[in-house]
Symmetry: C2
Subunit: 477 residues, 2 copies
């Protein structure tokens, strides 16, 4: 029996402006059929049934992650929402502690949610090998044969072959991200592998090691688990109650590599030639997507002229590019990135700068996720605002009123149920309603399909904060 634990806690600032605080990299379509987390699950399904797949995400992304998992028949109760990221050790420990209740001798495999594996069949073969090694009570880590002197990854030095497990090796050394010279000598010397963050171990063995090397963490696991609760509506994922949050927030932030693997004597390495890529920044796109004859990676709405080695990612708008060499262009409705390809690592720093300047584009996109769906600003002026609202089937906004604005709603898809000053209205596509200032109103989508409406807000003060909530399904009153 094998369980998969997918760590989907990344904040993904390096894929700004497509990724934002609300929509990190693992929730984006970057390559392959689905989003990165969907692709990660799909890659495992031939080996691990969906009911054995467990996800850990930040609470911010729990709902959207459940939505993305819905098509696979994923059980939301197998998603645990962290109130705050504490690096990998606490997330993995908590997952192990929960799985131990079902089966302490189960093999648990850990996967980052936002990496690409271009040879999934071999990947699954190697996971099966790793499982055999883990069954012999090893902490197994997959190692990627390095193809260049990369300074962005940790390295693992291979030791001698393990007697009881063919194709597996002892680990001589874990090395955190090296400098350029050290990386170069790792490649020259041979016997080094990239640490790709994929691990396999018996749940009981891991918990033993945590008890030894991270006793503080170990001692709080039971208590934290006792404070997990179910999300009340829509998707019943697990989150922590107030006390649980407090406990979790007090944990030390530490990686499983540093906290356990570098200290344990039971670590084994299984080399994995699986065409792995961590898509760590925009320049990685040329490694995972198809290039044109001039080495450009471009989306549909791009007209390149005399460009080479460039990565141009558009959406609806036309992008014309002339004479670019090694330039990254990423276009979104509210923010544009143009970046030298060899400086793509600086995007993270840029997002930090935007945050210190309090620019909303650092965290929110043109489409803002809400528990009931999302809204997209189509035009914002001083005295009016035009928005598209998308309300998921079965969801409803809070019962609310506004002191400074009126709202004109026109349904363009689906149907809406509206409570306005105590009266109920049902609006179909092509029908509209007027919400006066101060009127108590509520918008619901009782139908089976997405409700889309265009909202025109008019007032002398147009502001998201101009809202009085009387009742809310999502505890926002």
């Amino acid at each position: 029996m094998m369980y998969g634990v997918i760590l989907a806690g990344g904040s993904g600032t390096r894929f700004w402006p497509k990724s934002r605080e609300q929509v990190p990299k693992q929730l984006l379509k970057i390559c392959g059929k689905g989003t990165l987390v969907q692709n990660t699950v799909e890659r495992l399904l031939p080996l691990i049934p969906i009911e054995n797949i467990f996800l850990v995400t930040n609470a911010l992304h729990a709902l959207e992650t459940c939505r993305q998992m819905d098509a696979f028949g994923f059980l939301p109760s197998q998603l645990l929402a962290e109130p705050v990221g504490k690096n990998t050790a606490p997330a993995i420990a908590l997952a192990a502690r929960i799985l131990a209740e079902e089966n302490p001798d189960a093999i648990m495999a850990v996967f980052p949610a936002d990496h690409v594996v271009q040879d999934p069949e071999n990947f699954r073969r190697i996971l099966e090998q790793g499982k055999e090694v883990a069954e012999k009570d090893y902490l197994v880590t997959l190692g990627i044969p390095p193809s260049r002197a990369e300074t962005g990854y940790g390295y693992i030095k291979k030791g001698s072959p393990l007697e009881e497990a063919p194709k597996a090796f002892a680990v001589e050394q874990f090395m955190e991200k090296p400098d350029a010279q050290t990386a170069e000598s790792c490649i020259q010397d041979g016997g080094y592998f990239w640490n790709c963050g994929v691990f396999l171990w018996k749940v009981s063995v891991l918990l033993d090691e945590i008890k030894t090397h991270l006793p503080d963490l170990y001692n709080r696991l039971d208590s934290i688990v006792s404070h997990t609760v179910e999300n009340k509506r829509t998707f019943h994922y697990r989150l922590l109650d107030e006390k649980g949050k407090e406990l979790y927030e007090s944990l030390a932030s530490i990686s499983i590599d540093y906290g356990i693997l570098e200290k344990s004597r039971r670590v084994a390495l299984v080399p994995a030639n699986i065409q792995w890529n961590d898509v760590g920044a925009w320049n990685a796109l040329e490694e995972v997507l198809e290039k044109d004859a001039n080495g450009n990676v471009v989306t549909e709405n791009v007209v390149p002229m005399d460009c080479s080695g460039s990565i141009i990612q558009g959406e609806d708008r036309l992008i014309a590019a002339i004479g670019l060499k090694d330039v990254v262009v990423v276009d979104t409705p509210d923010a544009l990135l143009v970046c030298d390809k060899n400086q793509a690592q600086k995007v993270k720093k840029l997002v930090g700068k935007l945050k210190t300047e309090n620019r909303s584009e650092a965290t929110l996109g043109a489409t803002v996720q809400k528990p009931w769906g999302s809204y997209t600003v189509l035009e914002k002026k001083a005295n009016y605002l035009v928005k598209r609202l998308d309300v998921y089937s079965g969801e409803q906004l809070s019962l609310q009123s506004h002191n400074h604005r009126t709202e004109h709603w026109t349904v363009v898809a689906g149907s809406a149920e509206i409570i306005l000053n105590g009266k109920q209205f049902v609006l179909q596509r092509d029908e509209s309603i007027f919400i006066p200032k101060y009127a108590k109103h509520r918008l619901s989508n009782p139908s089976d399909t997405l409700l889309t409406l265009i909202e025109v807000q008019i007032g002398d003060r147009i502001d998201e904060d101009d809202i009085v909530r009387y009742q809310d399904d999502y505890d926002r009153v």
Copy 2:
């Protein structure tokens, strides 16, 4: 008495995507206080009163040009709309022919509408010098002392000083755009000036020369003038009737330089050190706008990081730029240009390519000019469309109906008068109305201020062509 004739017929493909077929370069704010044509007029006003200023534009741009001129007290009857561009000779000849009716001995000065002069005081001083030379029956051309071996301009070779006009010279040779080697030797040899398209002459002298060198054109001038008519509403500019259009279209397309100046023996050169720039492409912006410490020319909403020598022109959206060197970025709501600065001349070719691919972005922007105002697409989907309509004071759309869509209108600024199936409605800000399929309707703005409304179109076919017009102020039935 001096007259100014401003040639505002440029199509301005080289400033795409800010310039489009509907909004060429002279109608854009590129540098200085107003649009380029406004700046051109303002620069002349201390010397030439507004009632002596005459404009020639393409018919496509006549209305918008009148609007831009309105604040100066410009008389629309002094604007002549060409049905089609025929280069400079026909436009200048026609203006001369019209001015001759008022005063055949007047001095007429000709100016391109879309150039920049950074020393306007000296410019006006030189125009006064030029006027004195023109009064002695010379065709005067201003010559710019060249600062580099530019291959994009024509050159004028200075001859001997004129006895009767100090500071003016005979012209030894006109040279069309030279190759790089020839341009280099022009600079080395000295005595060459750039042809900047500014000319002064007595109306009668020019007409004499046209009679000699372009007799076909001369012979048709009277007939064309007899076919000018007034635009019926809004601005009463002059245009040609059907017969006039036919005549104009049959004219040979020829420049005044090639048609007259290269052949005439009465040409004089007046050197003009006026910090002139023809802003011929995006890279010229660094010559006419202020640069930051790293040599970048950026607008407000741009966050540059480690960039140099780049030109980044945004609008509402945030543009983040990292590590760019000599890159041009021009952002508009529906199209984006990213271009190597040293290949900015290729923008024209790119627009040609877009046209052959039938991309609407080659000709229309997100905001589409209409005789009654403009509309701006805020969101376009298969089954609905959200638009902002801006209707000028006193204007009205056609009486119309749609076979495939309904319309929901919400007034967000100004007030609207609406005829709907024969009934009249007056809508103020914050009021809305529903236009059913097939309903005959008409929208007017009888007020003194701009009317702005948000239109949501809903239907199974959303198409600008889905319109039946019953009556129209602008002859579009």
